[in-house]
């Protein structure tokens, strides 16, 4: 039994909301994707299977549209608009990202839709909110993120280098996460009937910047970007270390408790490296410290600052003598949080994720291939996440969906 079985969703295809539809569909919702004539533009996005472009060959399309069914409807044509409305009449959720005036121009604005289906959760995910004219400006993931604030906090100590936007459509994803939370909230609160839910993509990114926002809100201060670690008001010590194999590891929050300094000291000694580190004496002081450190004195109290600096120096020395993966495992065995800076594909092939079943097979019968896909973001044993089918080919489910509309 899937958590969203029986929940009917109509998604008006736009690349920026496809991930929300996928999250619903992989939890068992019946997501009907309505594409414009010619198909959603993301069918044309690289990469392609075997590098050959084609309407049904985009891996981008494949990923974002698993478990959905699809048909093409030209909403500017009366018959197709009528079919769309019949779909919405039966739906629990309409997920769309249309320009501000598009639905009104079609005569199907939020009021008209809810008048037809009073239980409809009508969810609009737009760059700045449904009624903000900035939502009609062209955008890409890069500009949504820049407007929302994340790149301000990301980059390098050297501020002659530009702020950095991370890959992966994370601006779109963040908006889709809020769309999902909103839809699930709306479904749990269905006693109130349907409603209109307005999700702003730039606002979603803007409340997903951690200290950048609340440091301004609470203290009126501005964080500054730093290489490979949190942006901060005052410079902090590095946490990203280059390892012996040329790869990097992240030490997150370096040792900050006496027992962590003790384990670090023990690891230094086991590795025979204590003599190479003059600062080891401060690591030892940290290990013998009584009670917790007052972290607010970091950078102010010389001893505490020296101890924390020595903790970093010890980590750096240990990192330089091992591979990123070995450093990670060594740190963790010593009770110190750390992680290798993996490429996504390296994480995908890591034994831990394989053991947890993260790689899931998806059949592409028309290609005669079964391919490994990324798996579940959460494990719900009683109502499991699953890819029920590969992404739809163009207009694949037209007859099936239109036939369902004729049923009472």
């Amino acid at each position: 039994m899937t958590a969203l079985r029986g929940v009917r969703v109509v998604e008006l295809a736009r690349p920026r909301i496809a991930f929300a539809g996928k999250l619903l569909a992989d939890m068992g919702a019946d997501v009907v994707l309505v594409e414009p004539p010619g198909g959603c533009p993301s069918r044309g996005y690289p990469p392609f299977v075997d590098d050959e472009p084609g309407t049904d060959r985009s891996l981008y399309w494949w990923h974002y549209n698993t478990s959905k069914r699809a048909l093409v409807l030209d909403l500017d044509a009366a018959d197709d608009l009528a079919a769309f409305l019949r779909l919405v009449d039966r739906a629990d959720v309409l997920l769309e990202s249309e320009p501000t005036t598009r639905l009104a121009q079609l005569g199907v604005d939020r009021g008209a839709l809810r008048a037809r289906n009073e239980n409809l959760l009508h969810v609009a995910v737009t760059p700045y909110g449904r009624d903000d004219p900035r939502s009609d400006l062209p955008e890409v993931d890069l500009t949504i993120l820049a407007a929302g604030g994340p790149p301000w906090s990301c980059g390098y100590d050297d501020h002659d280098l530009p702020p950095v936007r991370g890959w992966g459509n994370q601006g779109y994803h963040t908006a889709c996460h809020f769309a999902l939370m909103s839809i699930l909230t709306g479904l749990l609160g269905r006693d109130s009937g349907g409603q209109f839910i307005d999700v702003s993509m730039a606002a979603a990114c803007s409340v997903t910047t951690e200290a950048a926002s609340y440091t301004h809100l609470v203290a009126g201060e501005t964080v500054q970007r730093q290489t490979g670690r949190h942006a901060a008001v005052a410079p902090t010590g590095e946490t990203q270390m280059r390892c012996g194999d040329g790869r990097y590891a992240n030490t997150g929050v370096p040792p900050r408790r006496p027992e962590e300094f003790a384990r670090l000291l023990a690891w230094l000694r086991e590795s025979g490296l204590e003599a190479e580190l003059p600062e080891a004496v401060f690591v030892e002081m940290g290990a013998n410290w009584e009670g917790p450190f007052d972290l607010s004195l970091l950078g102010k109290d010389d001893t505490i600052t020296a101890i924390f600096g020595a903790g970093r120096d010890a980590m750096r020395l240990l990192a330089s003598r091992s591979s990123a993966q070995a450093f990670f495992v060594g740190c963790q065995r010593a009770g110190l949080a750390a992680g290798p800076v993996n490429a996504p594909e390296e994480a995908f092939e890591d034994e831990h994720f394989i053991a947890r079943g993260f790689q899931v097979p998806v059949e592409h019968a028309e290609l005669g291939r079964t391919l490994r896909y990324p798996g579940a973001p959460y494990l719900l044993p009683a109502s499991p996440w699953a890819i029920s089918r590969r992404a739809p080919t163009l207009d694949e489910h037209r007859e099936e969906i239109l036939a369902e509309l004729l049923q009472p």
Partner: protein, 411 residues
Amino acid sequence: MLNTALGGIRICDFTGQLAGAGATKWLAAFGADVIRIEDPERQGRWDILRGNAPFKDERRGIDMGGAFNNHNVGKRGITLNVRTERGKELLAEIIKRCDAVTENFAAGVLERWGFGYERLKALKPDIVYVSNCGFGHTGPYAAFKTWGPIVQAVSGLTHTSALPDQPPAGWGYSYMDHTGGYYMAMAIMLALLHRRRTGEGQWVDLACTESALTLHGPALLNHVVNGRGTRSEGGLNSNRSQWQPMAPHGIYPCAGEDDWIALACRDDDDWQLLVSLIGAEAARADWRASAGRVADQDALDALIGGWCAQQDKFDLQARLRALPIPVAAVMKPAERIDGEHAVGGDALWPTVTHSAMGEVRVDGQPVRFSKTDWSYERAGPCLGEHTEAVLGELLGLSAADVANLRDEGVV
């Protein structure tokens, strides 16, 4: 009483930091009764944000943490010492009256307290239990610990945020604490929906690294299908387009102090619009088609960068919006929160009245519900602020009972 979407749902909440607290913040904003349980002996310091900067008016203290307040608005807070037998008894009674138990401890902590899933189920057969930890409760790394930046490193998010010939830039904040919290909120609500339909509870094992790994879908399929990875000689430039052949696509310097602008040309039409502003030096024949621009991005970026560098970022944003092509100034916190270019209205940054800090602004929710919208009914709780109220309301304890418990070190 306000009409809320999640009214009537009660959460026994052990979450902290951002990865957990962010999840139950959402639930509280929509009316769930989130009861946050903290350790009186350590003054709730397991959550390192409690009592840590930023501080309002530089006033310090265990109840003064600005981030803690930000992530815990709308919740009630009680103290309970689960090292004591009486504390365990009270916790059991609270759990019997809750719909869900939530935590983001390291794997196995709740089990060691004697409150693993089997015990929770014995107390409340249809309980929803959602644990959120870095690597999940199974697998070779289950015992390993993480923070947000480590989750980002392990899952590939750090590697894929970089400029060429530089170490990874990564994410300059805990993107995966936020996002892990979003997945945790989804998981709680999915399990509650399942329970509503079937009467069945469950334990959701959420591994933050796994949630993060789902955020690279096309790259992972490109690896599986085409055998192509994301490492290359010289490194990647994540300000450039990852998939569609868009150029220019980057972040360029502007005239002000650390001022930058992000812009992109999605196609040749966008490029022609941009050329109409830049003028002759951009009107090169070999840049007319997308393939030519993508192949020559270093030169293209140098030209665009030089052109932008003479201009005010908001003036330039206005001129490029008028074309229009995709553009956004890289917003500084003060710019996107306050002032004429702000991303949302004041409603996105509501003011709450905190019992110790006074009035303070917090992150709102970037959504509007036409009927059952979110609101923050209270600020983040001071340590044990609602102990008496909650134990009275849920378990019928009197003020004197609670005073005794306090003397005994139970609350």
